[in-house]
Symmetry: C2
């Protein structure tokens, strides 16, 4: 008999991080993971690069498969198994085998809900036409890849100019498609401010992406074989043979909610810093769970792999009987479009306004490394400080090679409660092929001294 | 009549940063800079890339020349002018025009000493043979370039495996020379620990550099025309037709010392956080001045462009009547050898031992970005924490593209007095082409939790 029976619902980043952590602490606990998709522990963020062909096999996106978990970690990860009910009182879950359609109860001592997020899907007829895709699970990425292989679509429409939309635009351009990207806002990448987003729009337009901003998707039409052939917006209509819906995601928290577990306003499962839910012996982690925003000082829903992994580690640690706290997030994120790296952390100007924090900003243009060094490129850094405390509260960067990950220094400066002066005077690294003598983030900081 | 007469001795990073800062504050102060070399405000760090031909003109290494300073900033930068005496009592300096050999006194209200550093030159006969070079001023870089153009040396010997030695090895390999690098220590790059240095040695050996470690230069020999043709060490002798001396530098503080200005044990000019020397109305900045080491809590001599620029800004600010403090350095530094980026910050293991700080280390190998993404490479991160406080006190990184500048996050973590846990849990940026989901520095930090 095991000392303890752990059940984990969801076998991706958060769930498997927790499972692995628990196994490292307790060799003889029984750990069972139920995952409704065919895959465990994969890099959802890698899908655009698999679809474009840069990554030559979907299997490369899988960090560890169920066989590896079973053999090397003694973790039983059961794919095609969906938990459809939680009974917190009796500490059991009802599990449906999606291949046999049979359900049965399984009991737990400790339960982790790591059910992830669901992509937004517009409530339109024909949204399930062939050639219309959401990207969420690895399987959905494989579906897009196979559809493109088989049907050779020429005109792609991407709905939503967020991270996924931008990455898919790059991927589909590489496949020589005519790419149109729609956004209902007047600019894309709205986690950055407009003055940064404008540069991204210019870059994408130059690269051949047709941007249709301030347009709302109203209709999807399909041919008699069920293949998408047209979309309409509130402004016009467009022939298309591939539609990627990148309209954001919501926490997949319904299962938790139905069992009485408390949700936040954002519909994410409410957790404390130990990833405990409102119910004893039930933890939540990953996209389905909320994250405390360290600057906004509220719980937020942020669906990112980095956070899911940290959630999973902390949940697993606490489930294993250790003590670990997840303190919160800054909303750090990064992507790239071709050779343009795009990153942000902390509060944008818009968010500072919303949070009623008086702020100052500085935006500078510089060089990603010494301007005289071959292939040096541009970088634009925007810094936001609290007007009163002078502490850095946000940063945004766009630029060429080596630009994006500089956001980590700004994130570190926020965490260290540094002022612009502190950042400007910090001892950062310089050599001509890799930096300017004042790092671009310091050039921005100097403007705010 | 100007309100104030400023004299600055030395027209490179520190001196011209100070001059520019003073000019931004005071439009009508008279600012005169005396520089003994032919150039102002150049990137000494860029010389290896000019010598290799990557940067196609030495002029590109000059940020601003005397004409620009005069016309755009009303700063009179007089090149070929060497200050040979300071009279602090009468507030005047004796300046020698190196073209006419005439000297005259000039008075100041405020004086900045920014005389830089002098390269170590072994006390050997024939050290001044043709084909033997120190690299310090831009002119010395031009001299090397011209010597190579004219004499087409084939066998290059580099004495000293520090930053300059490693960078020059890359440069001379690119010029198809047979490169031998000598170091008197058993390993090169001794600001890093041996376990990191070993990897650099392997990489350099693979690339074709002959490493001769634990060998001391004893003799330089020249032919009858005065061209170097052989060097000897305590172990062997080597035919050579180019010798680069990269044996470190000393503060050029003799002028200050002769006028009674106090030096540190390191022979660098002693300054306080406002860059004030022991004498009223005399400041010092750049390689000739000391820097407070924030972890060792002692004044050190560290000759780096990043520090010189910050020194200059702070000195200029205080000279202009504002208040600004230079708090200190961490010893952050970076270089690259071909595609291997090399960086360090804070204390090495060796330095922690010397400072009697009980420590723990973790060293990890990971991937510079997602392992499945094309052209992903290796990264090795070493972290050092204070055993008692758990605070991060040092870091070393070697690895492929995008590895080196991650040292800035470790530097930020040191400045923010973060523990390994704080660093591991920080919200850093991830996208497969630019990072792993746990950034490599966080993977190292996790080992220390």
């Amino acid at each position: 008999m095991p000392d303890c029976k752990v059940i984990i619902i969801g076998g991706d980043a958060a769930g498997m991080s927790a499972a692995s952590k628990i196994r490292r602490v307790h060799k003889n606990w029984k750990i069972t993971v139920y995952e409704r998709s065919p895959h465990t522990s994969y890099s959802a963020c890698g899908m655009p690069y698999f679809i474009s062909g840069k990554v030559d096999s979907s299997e490369k996106l899988i960090a560890r498969d169920p066989k590896t978990f079973a053999e090397e970690y003694d973790i039983q990860a059961k794919v095609f198994h969906e938990v459809i009910q939680i009974d917190p009182g009796k500490q059991k879950v009802l599990v449906k085998n999606l291949k046999t359609n049979k359900s049965q109860w399984d009991t737990y001592d400790k339960l982790l809900i790591a059910t992830g997020a669901n992509p937004h899907k517009p409530d339109l007829p024909e949204v399930d036409s062939k050639g219309v895709f959401c990207l969420s699970t690895l399987q959905s990425g494989i579906d897009v890849f196979e559809f493109i292989e088989k049907n050779k679509p020429q005109k792609a429409s991407i709905i939503g100019g967020g991270y996924l939309g931008v990455e898919m635009a790059e991927a589909l351009l590489e496949l020589d498609m005519e790419v149109t990207l729609f956004d209902r806002n007047e600019y894309i990448m709205k986690t950055l401010d407009t003055d940064m987003s404008e540069d991204i729009c210019s870059k994408m337009t130059e690269a051949g992406v047709r941007l249709k901003l301030d347009e709302n998707l109203t209709t999807i039409e399909a041919d008699s074989d069920g293949y998408v052939n047209k979309i309409k917006t509130d402004k016009s209509s467009y022939a298309t043979d591939l539609v990627i819906l990148g309209m954001g995601v919501s926490p997949n928290s319904q299962l938790a909610q139905l069992s009485g577990i408390k949700l936040c306003d954002t519909a994410a499962i409410q957790i404390n810093s130990k990833m405990e839910t409102s119910h004893p012996n039930i933890w939540a982690a990953g996209d389905c769970a909320s994250s405390y925003h360290l600057l906004k000082e509220v719980h937020q829903f942020i669906a990112l792999g980095t956070i899911a992994n940290k959630h999973g580690l902390v949940a697993g640690s606490n489930m294993a009987g250790e003590e670990m706290e997840f303190r919160g997030v800054l909303g750090t994120a990064i992507t790239k479009f071709q050779d343009l790296e795009i990153a942000r952390t902390g509060l944008s100007e818009r968010e500072a306004k919303e949070a009623d924090i008086p702020y100052e900003t500085a935006t500078i243009k510089s060089s990603n490394f010494a301007g005289y060094y071959p292939d040096s490129g541009d970088i634009k850094v925007k810094l936001i400080i609290d007007k009163k405390s002078r502490h850095i509260i946000g940063g945004q960067i766009i630029g060429n090679k080596g630009s994006g990950k500089r956001i980590d220094v700004i994130a570190s400066a926020i965490m260290g409660k540094m002022t612009a002066f502190d950042l400007a005077m910090m001892d950062l690294a310089y050599v001509p092929p890799l930096s300017t003598v004042w790092d671009p983030v310091q050039i921005a900081a100097r403007r705010l001294i």
